[in-house]
């Protein structure tokens, strides 16, 4: 498996990256940590004419936070965010999900924004952004825009990014008072792609549950404070709505069952964490 030919540009400025994206459109791909893109190139599922390496732009390699939000730049590697001393305090859901992203040996190179750009249906970071009502900051030569996570992930590995845009950062809200967070995942082996992953956020009025790994892109529901069989029914309905499919790794009914079980476990843990 060898990639087809492409040019390589190590961007020295953001303007250079933008100009190349504007000129080449869909023939250009942004290269960050490469942990999703390089296998796509090797398998020739992606055949860009030019790769724009953005890892030598120091302004993109920053984690910035105030009391309300965390901004994670396009150059921030997953391992760096996981090792950030404030991560548990600032956003426990990100801290809980990050150890599930790939393996230590891929988190060392893979970036947060790269995972968002790739938008694999079973990826943890898009799921968490959806659960948290996070947002994606896009920029092109012409303009900047902020797209909420719910509008960004549009299908199987497809997003609202335009061909001339790059993801400059993603934004996640910080832990909110009175909120509880929990993450659950099932895979065949730790670090493998999730068969089902869930992220739950519990708050005073109810709970928000996001599920990944089942449908083409992560899905989210908001529930009032349900308990007992009402919660079971709601989860069952969610599981059926997700359009699960059989594949090599799991049957559709197994996936639905994981949604019910893991969904409930995540919701209960998130509620406990509120207290």
């Amino acid at each position: 498996m060898k990639p087809a030919r492409f040019d390589y540009l190590r961007a020295g400025t953001l303007a250079e990256a933008h100009a190349t994206l504007a000129a080449e459109g869909e023939d250009a791909r942004v290269l960050a940590g490469g942990q999703s893109l390089v296998p796509m190139l090797s398998m020739r599922m992606a055949r860009p004419k030019v790769l724009i390496d953005i890892m030598h732009l120091p302004q993109l390699a920053k984690i910035e936070s105030d009391v309300n939000t965390i901004h994670i730049g396009a150059g921030v590697r997953q391992a760096k965010l996981l090792a950030w001393p404030e991560i548990h305090e600032r956003q426990p859901l990100l801290a809980a999900a990050l150890p599930w992203v790939g393996h230590a040996q891929t988190r060392s190179r893979g970036t947060i924004c790269g995972s968002v750009a790739h938008a694999d249906p079973s990826a943890e970071i898009p799921l968490v952004l959806l659960a948290l009502k996070g947002a994606i900051h896009l920029s092109s030569r012409q303009k900047q825009r902020r797209v909420s996570a719910i509008d960004f992930f549009t299908g199987m590995m497809s997003t609202a990014r335009n061909d001339d845009e790059l993801i400059e950062a993603v934004e996640a809200p910080c832990r909110a008072p009175g909120h509880g967070y929990a993450f659950r995942e099932f895979g065949r082996r730790h670090g493998d792609f999730a068969i089902v992953a869930c992220a739950a956020v519990a708050h005073a009025d109810g709970v928000r549950l996001a599920i990944g790994g089942v449908a083409d892109c992560p899905a989210v529901r908001d529930y009032p404070d349900l308990t007992g069989t009402a919660l079971d029914d709601a989860l069952d309905e969610f599981a059926w709505e997700l359009d699960a499919r059989d594949d090599l790794h799991a049957t559709e009914s197994f996936r639905r069952n994981l949604v019910r079980q893991l969904g409930r476990a995540a919701i209960e843990e998130a509620r406990r964490c509120r207290a």
Partner: protein, 169 residues
Amino acid sequence: MPRMSADANHRIRFKLNGRMVEADAEPRMLLTDFLRYNLAMTGTHVGCEHGVCGACTIEIDGVPARACLTLAVQADGADIRTIEGLAPAPGRLSVLQEAFRRHHALQCGFCTAGILLSLECYLRDNPSPDEATLRDYLGGHLCRCTGYVTIIAAALDAAERLRDANKDA
């Protein structure tokens, strides 16, 4: 750095096991192939070539990384360590390598270079690992021979010896 054209060869330079090396590569060349074919450093093995098996794991700028998920052009200017750089001197093994030998932590050896590099990085940052975290960490590697038990035993043993050595130092 100017745009590197797809059809041309470009000079790539990086530090490999403490020494500057250089050779030419097209932009599409994977670092695994660059190491093995262009630099004749065949200690780094290639299993799956898409990031799953861990056989190609090397150290890039102080962290473990998949060489098969890295382009040679990305590595330009980096500081890289491969299995060839582990032994302190010809005929002598590192503490971790020695522990692998004592515990029979390898059979065919295909996975071993990657696992050694990964564990070298890990033990440097975590001198007192427990078995559970080691197992989790080694989830990033496949070994079809050993069943992993001996690999974990070797890693724990090496960690202890390295701690003792540091105490004495």
